[in-house]
Symmetry: C2
Subunit: 290 residues, 2 copies
């Protein structure tokens, strides 16, 4: 199976690397060509348009920021649909709204292209190490075809159901990671205000009912003042907005998630959108005039 | 060191059992005497008042619900202070406000009684297995004397600092466990509304950045409809109110914790105070008319 990969950012470069390691013939494209060139040395073909990726591939995976980027890849001047390749499989591994996934599925079906939504979780570390969790929506027969490629990138590949369901499950993940971050940040603000050393808070949370991936992975970064992304604040804000839209459409009240969207909006407004999600601590510092 | 123990509820019975196992001579008292009697067979002395516990002991530990219970134990008709035992150490292992701990420390000091605040985390499971985390505030020399008894009950014993600091650190824990629960509950509501099986949400959260003690321990209970406490909703509501008071006093905004206090207030108002904290899912069900 010839694989194409579009979007070689923090996540995509690790994922494409693992596809190569697993022995799939790979064609890559990135808007900024410089990021694609290292893959040439590793044996990938580097091309100049999504259209060329489609011509060289049986399945094209993309991981970009947002729905407009996906639309550009598909329908832009040298977009994938220009290749007019019946039977091509296109997989969007970006986090997008379930409604967008459903719409894309239908639009591509009309052109003879099969679509899967397959967002991931596990961060840059999981992308590099091939330990991502991948949540897939779309037709099951198409999923089965692409499954070996997913397994090259992830240790937990979940077929969730029909088109849009991969995105739907991913949004549930974003709810949890966002609120787990708020939990750590509010606890830190409280403990610092009472003169408790961060290390004691960390020791307690690590050893008891407060333990979480967020405590283990992000809290030490906050303690060191390291705000570099893993996962960028404005990306989380975008995802929480999708949650808000989806939940509101179904009249599902999600008061804490909604509040968290407001907090991340404020964080982006304060110029911290490009920093990691753990930079939420800076918003709380601002709230107390630090 | 002769140990006294007051309060043989879900937590206390496990903890007192581990003190006995470690070989300390033990005297116990419980308001409902029936809960104390099993300890007689295990070699403990069962008495009828806190005053008698004090007479028999070098250190008295208590774990009860709230500040008024602690005041009753200390200053009630047959309370501990009636024993007039200079040099006695009294340890409150209940979760209470840091201000209450500080006040108790001062009041007991005047009577020649040394005080430690030493709340715990780790749940009924940790109490039974002797794997609690114990956070201690008070004078360090007193902490050193009681440390062997703490080690019989907990695997992580943290001396946090002066009187009240044990409670202060415990409140930070409650912030995290409360918000981690809200995270799981809102994610479940969203995923269910989109027709995703609970097992798929659990698989994703378990294997990625959304993992937490709450996911591992409480989410399976929610999935089975098991609302029995571990930790009762109205106890968490009480603790979140302490957080609210402490934070407000110091002008530390904690918007998400404050919202969570409102949610647990609503849960108690709906008659679910005696159920476990995971019963929050029922409030969300009510919000959507289920």
């Amino acid at each position: 199976m010839k694989v194409g990969f579009i979007g070689l950012g923090i996540m995509g470069s690790g994922m494409a690397g693992n596809i190569l390691k697993a022995g799939f013939p790979l064609t890559v494209y990135n808007r900024t060509r410089g990021k694609a060139e290292p893959f040439e040395k590793l044996g990938a073909r580097v091309v100049n348009t999504p259209e060329e990726v489609a011509r060289q591939s049986d399945v094209v995976l993309s991981i970009v920021t947002d729905a407009p980027d996906v639309e550009q890849i598909l329908y832009g001047e040298h977009g994938i649909v220009k290749a007019e390749k019946k039977g091509l499989i296109f997989v969007d591994m970006s986090t997008n709204s379930p409604d967008f996934a459903l719409e894309t599925y239908s639009q591509l079906k009309e052109r003879g292209i099969r679509f899967l939504d397959a967002p991931v979780t596990g961060g840059d570390k999981g992308a590099k190490e091939g330990t991502l969790t991948i949540m897939v929506g779309g037709d099951e027969d198409v999923f089965k075809q692409v499954e070996p490629v997913f397994k090259a990138m992830g240790k937990n590949v979940i077929y969730v159901g029909s088109a849009g369901k991969g995105q739907a499950l991913k949004l549930c993940n974003q709810v949890v990671i966002a609120l787990d971050m708020v939990a750590v940040v509010e606890a830190l603000q409280l403990s610092r205000s009472m003169g408790i050393e961060d290390e004691k808070l960390f020791s307690m949370l690590s050893s008891g009912a407060g333990n979480s991936f967020t405590v283990q992975y992000y809290m030490p970064k906050i303690m060191k003042g390291d705000l570099e992304p893993g996962f960028k604040s404005w990306h989380l804000k975008k995802d929480l907005k999708y949650v808000d839209d989806v939940a509101s459409k179904r009249s599902i009240p999600m008061p804490a998630t909604s509040l968290t969207l407001q907090l991340y909006s404020a964080l982006v407004a304060n110029g911290l959108g490009e920093k990691g999600t753990q930079s939420l601590i800076k918003l709380y510092d601002k709230l107390v005039g630090k």
